[in-house]
């Protein structure tokens, strides 16, 4: 039987379902003041609203009354060797409580060092030492935040030192040891599979998919060197949709979120993409129904 914290992480998504969209200021007003949208939830970067007054927090308050919100942080820096930033965690806890998010997630990476904030997601060495250290830190963070906590697999462009284990094993062992949920980013899986030359489907099979609490999907950019950068600045491509379907067939109905952070198109265009994600989601969910084979 699973421990309570494991159940919390896995069942947190029960209060969140369907297909969501990453909230951007470019369309915040349309969402707040416009007609109801076919979007099941919005994901919010809390750093954009913490320790802040004025227009955007006021709009977010209104949005909270219309849609479910879930928080996804950018600067927790769970893998950093600096001590955790207590002040930030306290602020984050308050923001999470204010927004009523069912769980909070951040990235399995470091984004600060020696007191300096890098504002990007930098890789960790896939080492035994980091499995233990980061997992212990993630448990402490969850206890401070007061809600279930999940970690996202990141895109990375360089292995930091000689890996002691494959990336999938590193991700799996950190989330298992920390009893955290897994926020599975299928675009990151695709990006890494191209940049580091591995089979993305084998990667997915190596993950503890029963721990997935949410799936992210996004677009990316291919540079002249052939390297793919996880820009969240383009439409999702077909191979990433295929990975989404493959993952959903194994996770069941977890919430799926479309991220678009750069070159953000008009909301109507994004909603078309949300509709495409939803069609994949619905098709897979129908295929998972017990009587699907008979009725097909």
């Amino acid at each position: 039987m699973r421990k309570r914290s494991e159940r919390d992480a896995r069942t947190a998504h029960d209060t969140l379902a369907g297909v969501g969209l990453g909230l951007r200021w470019e369309f915040l007003e349309d969402v707040v003041d416009g007609p109801p949208l076919d979007v099941d939830f919005f994901e919010v970067s809390p750093e954009n609203y913490m320790r802040r007054g004025g227009y955007y927090p006021a709009q977010l308050e209104k949005l909270r009354d219309r849609y479910r919100l879930v928080t996804h942080g950018l600067t927790l820096s769970i893998g950093a060797t600096d001590p955790p930033d207590r002040e930030y965690l306290t602020e984050l806890r308050g923001e999470i409580a204010r927004l009523g998010t069912p769980f909070h997630s951040d990235h399995l990476c470091f984004s600060s060092s020696g007191g300096r904030m890098l504002h990007d997601l930098l890789p960790l060495k896939f080492s035994e030492e980091n499995v233990t250290r980061v997992a212990d830190r993630a448990r402490r963070v969850r206890d401070v935040l007061g809600v279930p906590f999940a970690l996202e697999n990141i895109s990375y462009y360089a292995a930091l030192g000689r890996p002691e284990m494959p990336e999938a094993e590193f991700v799996a062992r950190v989330v298992e040891r920390s009893e955290a949920g897994l926020l599975l980013d299928v675009n990151n899986v695709y990006v890494n599979s191209v940049n580091h030359g591995y089979d993305p489907y084998a990667f997915l099979r190596a993950l503890p998919l029963d721990r997935v609490v949410e799936i992210h999907i996004a677009g990316h950019e291919r540079r002249e060197s052939g390297l793919i950068i996880d820009t969240h600045g383009a439409e999702v491509i077909d191979p990433v949709y295929d990975l989404l379907a493959y993952a959903l067939e194994r996770t069941g109905p977890v919430p799926v979120l479309l991220e678009r952070d750069n070159d953000v198109p008009p909301l109507a265009v994004l909603l078309e993409e949300v509709a495409r994600v939803r069609s994949v989601y619905s098709r897979v969910m129908r295929s998972l129904e017990p009587n699907h084979a008979e009725s097909a």
Partner: protein, 275 residues
């Protein structure tokens, strides 16, 4: 082990550039950061190019945050901006979780340096600070209103947390918004009261030197009486009926604009001075 790798990658991102094709220099760099031989070998085999992706990603994000905050000052600085941006990253670096605060950290770093750099026009710091202030005020946390109470000469005033009083040597607030414009600002002592209105818009109010002095003392926590006495003494002006009525009109105006929340207890330091 992670600490050495983290330190090396951070330095690679924020510090002086390393030549991508100089493996020897890369090895020496990793060794300086205490990276183990095996990890260093793996990183050299992989090539510096892959790690340098992080240098461009991090720097692009931070540079964009500054461009959003102070576009006209950056355009006028030209290549000098790149020089000071690199120095900021290498010698200080951002320490905030909030991208919106990076511009303030950058300007705090630059202020003493620009004052001693003859290549930088004297008005440019005022312009940069003035531009960056818009986001600071727009995003300042909300203040708590005091319970209703009448204005009292021996009480202080609580301002909204978004209120700022700034002093410039140049009238940079009168420059056109166009980033390509190169009009020089008039050299004129300028005092601006900057606040966020109830509609969330950032607004600017030019004050006379005496009014600025009174507001300055009030913002520091002094009572209205102490603020009036200190400001008039500072400006060698009598505390006349005209000064009193002008101050009353100004405070009523600021209250109406939502910048003054109400009276509050005077905040004094242990030696009896406004805090």
């Amino acid at each position: 082990m992670q600490k050495a790798l983290e330190s090396a990658l951070t330095e690679l991102v924020l510090g002086a550039p390393l030549a991508a094709n100089d493996a020897e220099a890369f090895r020496a760099f990793l060794s300086r950061h205490g990276v183990t031989d095996d990890d260093a070998r793996a990183l050299v085999e992989q090539g510096l190019d892959r790690l340098l992706v992080y240098r461009s990603l991090v720097r692009d994000t931070l540079e964009h945050a500054l461009e959003v905050a102070m576009p006209r000052a950056i355009a006028r600085l030209g290549p000098l901006f790149d020089e000071y941006f690199s120095r900021f990253l290498a010698e200080h670096g951002p320490t905030t979780h909030y991208l919106r605060d990076v511009a303030s950290e950058f300007l705090n770093f630059c202020e003493p340096l620009w004052a001693n750099d003859g290549r930088i026009a004297p008005y440019l710091f005022d312009l940069a600070r003035h531009e960056a202030l818009r986001i600071v005020v727009a995003a300042a946390p909300p203040g708590q209103a005091e319970p209703d109470a009448a204005l009292d000469l021996d009480a202080g005033l609580r301002f909204t947390e978004a209120a700022r009083l700034v002093h410039y040597a140049y009238a940079v607030h009168e420059l056109p918004d166009d980033v390509d414009d190169r009009t020089l600002p008039e050299r004129r002592e300028t005092h601006l009261f900057v606040y966020r209105g109830p509609d969330h818009r950032v607004r600017y109010l030019a004050l006379t030197p005496l009014a600025a002095s009174i507001v300055d003392h009030l913002l520091r926590g002094a009572s209205l009486r102490r603020s009036l006495l200190a400001a008039t003494a500072q400006h060698r002006t009598e505390l006349s009926e005209a000064v009193l009525s002008g101050t009353a009109r100004l405070l009523a105006d600021l209250s109406e604009r939502g910048a003054v929340l109400g009276p509050c207890r005077e905040r004094l330091t242990p030696d009896g001075k406004p805090s």
